[in-house]
């Protein structure tokens, strides 16, 4: 270390105190901590660079690419710069045995101090031969590296829940990090396909600021990013409540931003902060672009949320019935029906999760 803290480093790179506080304020908003701006600023400035390693297994590098889109230009980039990213196959200069030794040395010399990020699921079939790096199986690597980490962040739905490789019929015996390496300390799931860059960055700043990890939901996801349903924050919610639905692609309702529920939107069954944080520096999000939510932050969504264009009540696990048609047919009491319908969905969803929890606990 040369003794430079982040604040000094930012100044050296021409980032003003004002820009920096702006960044901290936006982080506070994402984390749901209004008023914490100065605390975040103080914490980040005084923090020395923590060591991170980023592992990729059965992945598509979509979370890596998402990470590269972290917004608030320059400053977000610099916050990444204040972390020592000792291993990341997609970005690192070293290759082959030099890359392997970068990981080995980090794990050996910083036991219990580094943070492991994992992208992709971990296959268990064919003795681990469905994913090897340097001749070693992913299963072997994830257990060693995450086992020695202060915390593990499963980035994206594949690492968090098994994701697409684990979708039926799961040809490779793919597992989530939680299942591949049971008993990890401080495991946090940042699901979604891919995880939103703003949420990944917010999680790291949360840790640097508050010296603890955030409260999690029943799927080990931070409440600041997964604490409310897409439906509850959706800009099209008023159209749902008044029974205004898109009926066909490109119709009048579609062009005027009506509710996509009848086209298969899974927003009511999906928890994530997409409606507020959006994507690519707040430019847009899938529903804003006229396409239904596919539920990508939820466990097993490739199986439970498909067919993607089927209405939610008809999707396995959400057998509520055809009440949306009732809403569409009735011109009286539309808002009330909408609210009731939403309540039913939430109740069913809750039941579904409770059943799942019970099933889990029987394992």
């Amino acid at each position: 270390m040369n003794g430079l803290n982040l604040r000094e480093e930012l100044e050296q790179r021409g980032i003003s105190r004002r820009d920096f506080l702006g960044f901290c304020a936006s982080m506070a908003t994402i984390m749901g901590l209004p008023g914490a701006t100065s605390a975040i600023a103080a914490a980040v400035e005084n923090e020395t660079r923590p060591i991170l390693v980023w592992l990729e297994f059965q992945d598509c590098a979509g979370n890596t690419e998402s990470f590269l889109r972290a917004s608030h230009p320059t400053v977000a980039d610099l916050v990444l710069d204040t972390i020592s990213l000792n291993y990341h196959e997609t970005l690192m200069a070293a290759a082959g045995s030099q890359a392997v030794s970068a990981l080995d040395e980090t794990v050996k010399n910083n036991k219990g101090k580094y943070i492991a990020l994992v992208e992709g699921s971990v296959p268990t079939g064919a003795d681990g031969a469905y994913c090897t790096i340097g001749g070693r199986s992913a299963l072997d690597i994830v257990r060693e590296v995450c086992g020695g980490a202060a915390a593990t962040i499963a980035v994206g739905t594949c690492a968090a829940f098994g994701g697409i490789p684990a979708a039926a019929p799961n040809p490779t015996g793919a597992l989530s990090v939680a299942d591949a390496a049971p008993g990890l300390q401080n495991l946090i799931n940042m699901s979604a396909c891919p995880a939103n860059a703003e949420n990944i960055t917010a999680l790291i700043v949360y840790y640097l600021t508050l010296k603890r990890w955030p409260p999690l939901d029943q799927y080990r996801r931070p409440l600041f990013a997964y604490g409310a349903s897409i439906h509850d924050g959706c800009e099209r919610r008023a159209h749902f409540d008044t029974g205004q639905y898109v009926e066909a692609w490109g119709d009048e309702g579609h062009r005027h931003g009506y509710c996509l529920y009848k086209m298969g939107c899974k927003g009511p069954a999906t928890s994530q902060n997409c409606p507020t944080v959006k994507w690519n520096e707040g430019t847009n999000w899938p529903i804003g672009c006229g396409h239904p939510c596919i539920g990508c932050a939820e466990p097993n969504f490739w199986d439970t949320m498909t067919p993607f264009y089927g209405r939610l009540p008809n999707v396995a696990g959400f057998d509520v019935g055809g009440w949306v048609d009732t809403v569409g047919l009735s011109l009286t009491g539309l808002a009330a029906a909408g609210v009731v319908a939403h309540g039913v969905i939430q109740a069913v969803r809750h039941r579904h999760e409770t059943d799942k929890d019970q099933a889990e606990s029987k394992k």
Partner: protein
């Protein structure tokens, strides 16, 4: 003779392993192995074909649009859906943005460190760096103060002793030839490109809701509404935003990326005769310019055999086959059969060493990639193939013009294109051609709005009851890394068989039944290796293809094998 293993090959998408025999300072023979497998095509079976694009898209999060495009095209061909003109324009824009952004990221963040010695940049003279940059283009960020600040930043980073992603690399390797000033300029542009890619890709957020994994694709069209009189659709505000992003993108490509590539290439001209490879090149062609059944393609299709630029052949998808002689699969017709994707079968059957292992048995099966062949011949696909076909056929004229300019700038002949350096230059030239074309498609959308044509989707073919009971289709696309094809068989509204033949399978596949090496393997033969324990030169040639391994690995089970679809509740 030294046996060199590079695993993991880093700065790529996915998991790639290279084994090579090095003798007398050069590679005698090389083997390319993909070491990860998911089975997404198997997962696709039994599902709704309208969902397939989202599954296939997850094959790759780097080229995050390409499998979605190939998938909707394959299903559309099978069911007879016809996307309206707005959908064609939206797709062309999305595809071009993907190619341009991907090419820039590849050069600066995945490939540049094979040519640029970051540590050496600390000894550069900022004034000379500024002169160098100013001699290449009028890009405004090229002052002495700017490069001086960049150098200070680099020094501070290195001096603190935590090198992070730059640790353990090959700094100081004798194969690095750039003067310190060029290294410093490239370091600055590495950081600028990191900012640039994030801004430019907002085109995808506007047209697809988000990037990575855009979410506006539909079988039969696009989900992005078009209506100049709505605030919930593409309107004149978004048209203006797209135009601005396209201008900014063009600015960076023409004033930074392309000049950097030519400048760096001028120090590495020996690499214009290294890494040629199989010498056969293929492009399916893409970017339809009209809405007819056989539209003119902005980037042309064609085949080149034996580096003969005077004969551009036509492509027939029926001549595409895949072999598994050296791949971890079995075929019911035998180990040496070659199957067209419509009859494709892939039964994963790992027979390699049990991990952890030191070496693969390259005389047997050694990769999760299959070996695609066109009429029995290995083909190189990608930007070099496309630009060679454009050069040979003379269209688009801009491509021919830019290739000629690059050749005369470097004072080399067309034969220099068949090389590692040729791939790097072709990628930058293609980015320039495509980024210049984007405004034409933005304008096309605006023109359609002017005509009150707001159609985005062939709704008549949305309901599966309108589809033939049993149908087949294929969808072709030119992805950043080359020719991509998806083949689908649909029966009673559900996917029976799904198969992808992917750019990185064409390029990175293992030897075939006749022992013919794939393009990576062929191109590595003869590559110099100064220090076998620091195989920088091997990385150069492999990276020049822009490997994307998760794309390359696929599986479709034997069509006759019954598969129970298990729903996870």
């Amino acid at each position: 003779m030294t046996h060199v293993v590079v695993d993991p090959v880093t700065r790529i998408e996915g998991h790639l392993r290279i084994e090579a025999e090095v003798d007398g300072g050069a590679v005698k023979e090389a083997w390319s192995s993909s070491t990860m497998f998911r089975g997404i095509e198997l997962i696709l079976r039994g599902r709704d074909p309208r969902d397939a694009w989202a599954f296939a898209q997850r094959i790759c999060g780097v080229c995050t649009t390409v499998h979605a495009i190939a998938s909707i095209r394959a299903v559309e061909k099978a069911i007879g859906a016809t996307p309206p003109p707005n959908a064609r324009l939206l797709r062309n824009l999305i595809m071009a943005a993907q190619n341009v952004q991907d090419h820039v990221i590849h050069f600066y963040h995945l490939h540049a460190l094979d040519w640029v010695d970051i540590v050496n940049a600390m000894s550069a003279d900022p004034a000379k760096t500024a002169s160098l940059a100013q001699s290449l283009s009028d890009w405004p960020l090229s002052s002495v103060t700017y490069f001086s600040g960049m150098q200070d930043r680099l020094k501070a980073f290195v001096q603190r002793g935590q090198l992070g992603i730059f640790a353990n690399a090959y700094w100081g390797h004798p194969a690095y030839k750039l003067p310190p000033e060029a290294n410093l300029m490239a370091f600055a542009h590495y950081l600028e490109a990191l900012d640039w890619q994030r801004r430019f890709i907002k085109i995808h957020a506007i047209l697809g809701g988000k990037n990575p994994h855009l979410q506006s694709f539909l079988v039969g069209g696009m989900a992005t509404p078009v209506d100049p009189d709505s605030q919930s659709a593409l309107n004149m505000e978004t048209i203006a935003a797209l135009q601005k992003l396209v201008v900014d993108g063009r600015d960076f490509v023409s004033r930074v990326y392309l000049p950097d590539v030519l400048a760096i290439a001028s120090f590495y001209k020996d690499w214009a005769s290294i890494g040629a490879g199989v010498g056969n090149y293929m492009s399916y062609g893409d970017y339809p310019m009209d809405d007819s059944e056989h539209p003119e393609l902005f980037i042309p299709s064609g085949i080149i055999h034996g580096r003969d630029l005077t004969k551009i052949g036509t492509v027939d998808p029926a001549k595409v086959t895949e072999q598994i002689t050296h791949s971890w699969y079995t075929y019911t017709e035998g180990n040496d059969a070659a199957l067209n994707p419509f009859k494709g079968e892939t039964n994963p059957n790992y027979t390699g060493p049990k991990p952890p292992y030191q070496l693969l048995d390259v005389a047997q099966k050694y990769s999760w990639l299959k070996s695609p062949r066109y009429d029995g011949a290995p083909m190189e696909v990608g930007p070099l193939a496309r630009m060679l076909i454009a050069y040979g056929s003379g269209r688009p004229t801009r491509a021919k013009q830019l290739v000629d300019t690059a050749l005369s700038t470097l004072k080399v002949g067309p034969e220099a294109l068949f090389s590692t350096l040729g791939r790097v230059a072709a990628r930058a030239i293609e980015a320039q051609v495509l980024v210049e074309s984007m405004d034409m498609w933005v304008q096309g959308l605006a023109d359609n709005m002017g005509r009150r044509d707001y159609r985005i989707q062939d709704n008549a073919k949305w309901d599966p009851s309108t589809w033939p009971a049993d149908c087949f289709g294929y969808g072709l696309h030119e992805a950043p890394r080359g020719s991509l094809g998806h083949w689908v068989h649909i029966n009673k509204g559900a996917i029976v068989n799904y198969q992808c033949v992917v750019p990185s399978t064409w390029n990175a596949g293992p030897r075939d039944a006749e022992g013919q090496p794939g393009p990576y393997e062929a191109s590595l033969t003869g590559t110099p290796v100064a220090k076998p324990d620091q195989p920088l030169e091997i990385l150069r040639t492999v990276h020049s293809f822009d490997p994307c391994m998760a794309c390359g690995v696929h599986v479709v089970d034997a069509m006759k094998r019954e598969l129970a679809r298990v729903r996870v509740m």
